[in-house]
């Protein structure tokens, strides 16, 4: 009986998560469209709401092609290896106070463990496709995703320390007065950036960049298999938003406290979609970073910052300082890197632009000759003489 109940819950969860991911597809296209001066999908259903379903039907109807020289079993297992872990994390994520499939005491740890599993699937996809572009994409994805796991783990540890528990529910319940985004803005910022890199979203989407490696590890997949990758990416994006909302913004609880379940779910979804909308906004604005710039950003900036957040939280907890000292401390740690970055990149470029404005060669107009007197009608008509 328990098994039946559990499988029913899992099935519902699969549907909910799939619908959420599809809604993200729609939201992204609409938001991106509006930001680019166009309207996005409008034809399929009211406001284009059925567009993701149309996309899904189209993808499922496509022919299943596998490269002849690829190893079939691995080729078809790789998408599953990417999709199943990203779906399984949702078992522990609470949408409301009592709305979850299983409240694991090791919820955060479970999440980290499963998100690493997805990397294996991507590398396998790249390798089993037996194509140079796929291999390149697979290498890049492995390097990038493994490197950016570290800041995520550290920021999750910060939250776990502040809440005193690894379970999602307890983390949200601990944010009754002040959300952890206000307590540790540094950890929030690092989590969002590292989450962007984990999901593979611009500016960190070089491993599946269309204009460079034409799809990276996904290049040889078509139809339903590609749809699984696509769905997994959007589920991951939704998860980053949901995690940000739960861990840092107070989930369904802050600032309203204990409310009926529906309102709590609405609040949670609102926060999630807000973070997701910011992720889409970043996609519309920024070009993508090159792989070595990405790696150096991760290792030289994000990882030290995440460690600094961890150490700051440890200090505050050990010495028992009031909670607002943590805010000040994290802002103090956050501001210098931003300032340095601006000075390092933008200021020299702006100075250079000003310099170029000065050295531009100015050409001065010469005086025009006196305009010819107005011509007569006969002369003005263009002549057309036929030759012999």
């Amino acid at each position: 009986m328990d098994v039946v109940w559990a499988s029913l819950w899992l099935f519902t969860l699969l549907n909910v998560v799939a619908v959420a991911a599809l809604s993200l597809v729609w939201l992204e296209r609409k938001l991106l469209g509006r930001m680019q001066g166009r309207v996005g999908p409008t034809r399929v259903g009211p406001f284009g709401l059925l567009q993701p379903i149309a996309d899904g039907i189209k993808l499922l109807m496509k022919e299943d092609i596998a490269p002849g020289s690829s190893s079939r079993v691995l080729f078809f297992v790789a998408p599953l290896l990417v999709f199943v872990p990203s779906y399984m994390v949702w078992i522990t994520i609470p949408f409301g106070r009592d709305l979850f499939v299983r409240n694991l005491d090791l919820g955060l740890f479970f999440f980290v463990a499963l998100s690493v599993l997805g990397i294996v699937g991507l590398v396998l996809a790249g390798w089993s496709s037996n194509s140079k572009y796929a291999i390149l994409g697979g290498f890049r994805s492995a390097a990038q995703l493994v490197s950016y796991e570290i800041p995520i783990i550290m920021t999750i540890l910060v939250v776990a320390m502040l809440a005193g528990s690894l379970s999602f529910r307890d983390v949200v319940l601990a944010q009754d007065v002040v959300p952890y985004a206000a307590v540790q803005p540094l950890a929030f910022g690092v989590f969002l950036l590292a989450g962007l890199a984990e999901v593979g979203r611009t500016p960190f989407d070089i491993y599946h960049a269309e204009s460079e490696v034409v799809g990276g590890p996904f290049v040889e997949y078509s139809g339903a298999h590609w749809a699984i990758f696509f769905l997994a990416e959007y589920i991951n994006t939704f998860m980053v938003g949901a995690l940000g909302a739960l861990l840092f913004l107070g989930g369904w609880r802050w600032p309203v406290g204990d409310v009926p379940a529906a309102a709590g779910v609405a609040l949670f979804l609102f926060k999630t979609y807000a973070i997701v909308a910011v992720i889409f906004w970043v996609r519309a604005t920024y070009p993508r970073m090159r792989i070595d710039q990405l790696m150096s950003f991760g290792w030289k900036v994000l990882i030290p910052l995440s460690f600094a957040a961890f150490v700051a939280t440890a200090f505050q907890m050990f010495y028992g300082w009031p909670i607002w000292t943590l805010t000040i401390l994290s802002l103090v740690i956050l501001v210098p890197p931003i300032y340095i970055q601006l000075r390092w990149q933008r200021k020299p470029a702006m100075a250079l632009a000003k310099h170029y404005a000065e050295i531009a060669v100015a050409v001065h107009a010469q005086p025009r000759p006196v305009p010819v007197a107005a011509v007569t009608e006969a002369d003005a008509a263009p002549g057309r003489e036929d030759d012999a």
């Binding site: 680019q36 204009s211 070009p287 470029a349 060669v361 050409v363 107009a365 005086p367 025009r368 263009p382």
Partner: protein
């Protein structure tokens, strides 16, 4: 990022084939890679070769103008202008002043449209997906004006030997002034999004550096050459049409990297817009086509004329034998010559840089292959 070569490694050949989203047309680059570093790049062209130069020998001069339209299909009017000037020089024709003003206005508008496309496609090659929409929106505005004036959005066949095909519509002046304002705002939007964007700067500064001496030896012209610090602009050094009567600035870079080439083109957009409004102020009524025979028969001789295309120096060498068809028409396509500079620029950079460098050269394959 590279380590000492202690192992026996094989260099990988990556084919950025004729079908690739970032090669701006049918163009094939074979990269020899060592990990992520590019050791050498071999461009393969000719996928779009249509034999334009040979075709010109069997077409009358009026028909040749249409061939030039289709060569560099982004800057049609500039190409038509180059050819018509060559034929006019050989025939010693003085084009009426109003026709020259119309030609220059259309050519500069085409330059802005071409640069708007360059900025948009360059941005999307690097991953920024918004400027391309803005760029194409500006192009739409300009092409609507072209449709009103010439009858076609792209292959105009409007600039003819001896002048222009017909006079501009009555609302040309106010319409173009309004257009200049709108296009300037659009270009500024793209400018604000891209020019000082941290990720964009990281992707383009210091990438694809070519110094002035190599650039000149390789035959680079246009904004790519000016990005390396050589202040050569045909409109300034070899002025033609009514360019001597306009005041403008020729933007120059210094470092010769991708950002400089992009910045030079961006500033050229603004300069072109100001040139157009000067032309509108100075333009006066008059004839738009010189009196001449319908079938052009240049006397026997040769002439070489070059003008400033958005991509560089387009040269037309016309050898005429006195008949109504050219004997030999050689086109110097700026993109063809700029592409020779791809190899020196790309050696030693990353794969992602290869895409950025190719984009910054702003090639059009129709012109490269003719």
């Amino acid at each position: 990022m590279t380590t000492e070569q202690q192992h026996d490694t094989i260099d990988m050949m990556l084919n950025m084939g004729p079908q690739h989203p970032a090669t701006h047309g049918v163009f094939r680059m074979v990269l020899t890679l060592d990990g992520e570093r590019v050791l050498d790049v071999t461009p393969h062209i000719g996928y779009l070769h249509r034999g334009s130069e040979k075709l010109c020998e069997s077409e009358s001069y009026g028909q040749v103008v249409t061939l030039f339209d289709r060569m560099d299909y982004i800057a049609n009017l500039n190409n038509e202008l180059a050819f018509c000037r060559a034929a006019e020089r050989l025939m010693s024709i003085e084009v009426p002043e109003r026709a020259m003003y119309i030609r220059v206005i259309l050519a500069e508008l085409n330059r802005v449209a071409s640069h708007a496309l360059f900025i948009g496609t360059y941005a999307i090659d690097l991953g920024a997906m918004t400027p391309v929409m803005y760029g194409f929106r500006e192009r739409e505005r300009i092409q609507n004006l072209f449709e009103a004036v010439t009858g076609a959005r792209m292959m105009h066949n409007f600039i003819r030997i001896g002048g222009v095909k017909e006079d501009v519509p009555d609302d040309f002046g106010p319409r173009v002034r309004q257009l200049i304002g709108q296009v300037r705002e659009g270009i500024e939007e793209m400018d604000r999004l891209l020019t000082f964007n941290e990720v964009y700067l990281a992707r383009t500064r210091g990438v694809g550096v070519i110094d002035a001496a190599t650039a000149i030896s390789v035959g680079l012209t246009g904004p790519s050459l000016r990005g390396s610090g050589v202040a050569y602009d045909v409109r300034k050094d070899d002025p033609y049409e009514i360019y001597p009567y306009l005041s403008y600035k020729v933007p120059i870079g210094e470092n010769g990297d991708c950002w400089d080439r992009y910045y030079v083109r961006l500033q050229e957009c603004y300069e072109s817009l100001s040139m157009i409004s000067q032309c509108l102020d100075q333009m006066e009524a008059g004839p738009t086509m010189v009196q001449m025979r319908r079938i052009a028969r240049p006397p026997k001789g040769e002439v070489y004329v070059h003008s400033e295309n958005p991509r560089g120096d387009i040269g037309v060498y016309l050898v005429s034998d006195g008949t109504d068809k050219p004997y030999r028409l050689k086109i110097r396509p700026p993109s063809f010559c700029n592409l020779v500079g791809l190899a020196p620029m790309t050696r030693g950079s990353y794969i992602a840089d290869a895409v950025a460098i190719l984009g910054s050269l702003d090639i059009v394959l129709g012109e490269v292959d003719r």
